[in-house]
Symmetry: C2
Subunit: 265 residues, 2 copies
Amino acid sequence: MLLWYTDVAMCELLGMNCNVPTDIVFSFTGFCERGGRTADHVDGWGIGFFEGRGCRVFLDVAPACESPVAKFVKTYPIKTLTAIAHIRKATHGAVALENTHPFVREVWGRYWLFAHNGSLEAFTPALSGRFVPVGDTDSERAFCAILDAFAARGEKEMPPLEKLYQTLAEVTAWIASHGKFNYLLGSEHFLFAYCATSLHYLIRQAPFRTAHLADADVTVDFSSVTTPKDRVAIIATRPLTDNEEWVGVAPGSLVLFQDGEVVMG
Amino acid sequence: MLLWYTDVAMCELLGMNCNVPTDIVFSFTGFCERGGRTADHVDGWGIGFFEGRGCRVFLDVAPACESPVAKFVKTYPIKTLTAIAHIRKATHGAVALENTHPFVREVWGRYWLFAHNGSLEAFTPALSGRFVPVGDTDSERAFCAILDAFAARGEKEMPPLEKLYQTLAEVTAWIASHGKFNYLLGSEHFLFAYCATSLHYLIRQAPFRTAHLADADVTVDFSSVTTPKDRVAIIATRPLTDNEEWVGVAPGSLVLFQDGEVVMG
């Protein structure tokens, strides 16, 4: 099983965006298996949840499949509209907390979460100095470059999402020219997902069915834990379940999720 | 017991600064009791740890004495040079994650943790826009005002701590003129503590002795878990142990801790 995955480079991403606060325990359980058990992303992991305007991030440098923090998160169903998780296989930057995704920063009085899968080469942007990387990763540099592009718009309030999408698409094209740049970027109730090479998503909505994890023998009957109006988008580097229809995002596409569905891209 | 504490306003602070990475489990255990059991600070709590340049924050809106996250943190000994914790009794701002201390932001490529005890009245500073509060608390506004003062110095790198102390003392005097402003502000290996009305500290160093919590019947023999060169400063709104000599910080004093001792103030 491990051999099969050795061509999957570097890290894996997991995102969720919903129209009602939902917990991510099921998807996160399967995802954590890839942090050392069904794949070798053993260099730390993290997950961030928006709860209203607030944001909680759990990080650990231990492999996700062994981490006591991950074990805790798997048993603690935090309800959120937007969550972003990452398991790391270090490329740029040592295995250290400051290099662990997702990263969080504030712009326009709201928090932003960012996680990256891939590797950028010779990416040394001239940053404004407002957002300075704390760690050594190409990923955090890219996040700072994105936030610089947001702040360079000059607005005091966040612009409409269509305008933000355009700014993000432009800065993404520039950053993505430096290497492999799959990422998730979210705030409160929306989530941007960019596919450079590999990203899949799934919309769960009524009629809900049973889902079975690809990485662990765990099954959930979502019809028993949902209401008919619930809608949940799950975004992942590779499909997390083996009995649902995942959609592959076309390389080069920036997708915006809101209320558990694709609204742009 | 609860009655006795009703004149202790609003919130409580706990900080730790050490010369070698140390866990805060003992102090945090006593501190959590004040989050609903031995005092009525029931409106959420948080704790942040520096691990190298990285920073981990655990937050919850549940009372610290009942919170599953607090229970987890009490059993998970994170080694750190600097930690800041807070239990909240809401005054300004609803009970919500975005209003929960400690707050974390980045300046000069390093994270800063901030927690406040007290209440500021009519504190509506003209902020630069670089640091915008996400929540509704007077505390987060004060943190943004402090970071604005840091950034207004114009340096690309953090200035020497003596210079930072001076900037902080100036902005603190201004903020403290608006109300009660006890706070802890830390980054990586140092911690500033400002006493407006109530703040105490204790330096634990060789010869280590046995300490007994004031809020729970828990005793630790530090001589069995330390080496002779260890030095740990614990800072708290009120003494956390009942058999050690705590030092009361003089109101109006800004104290800088580094390597587990007072270096300025």
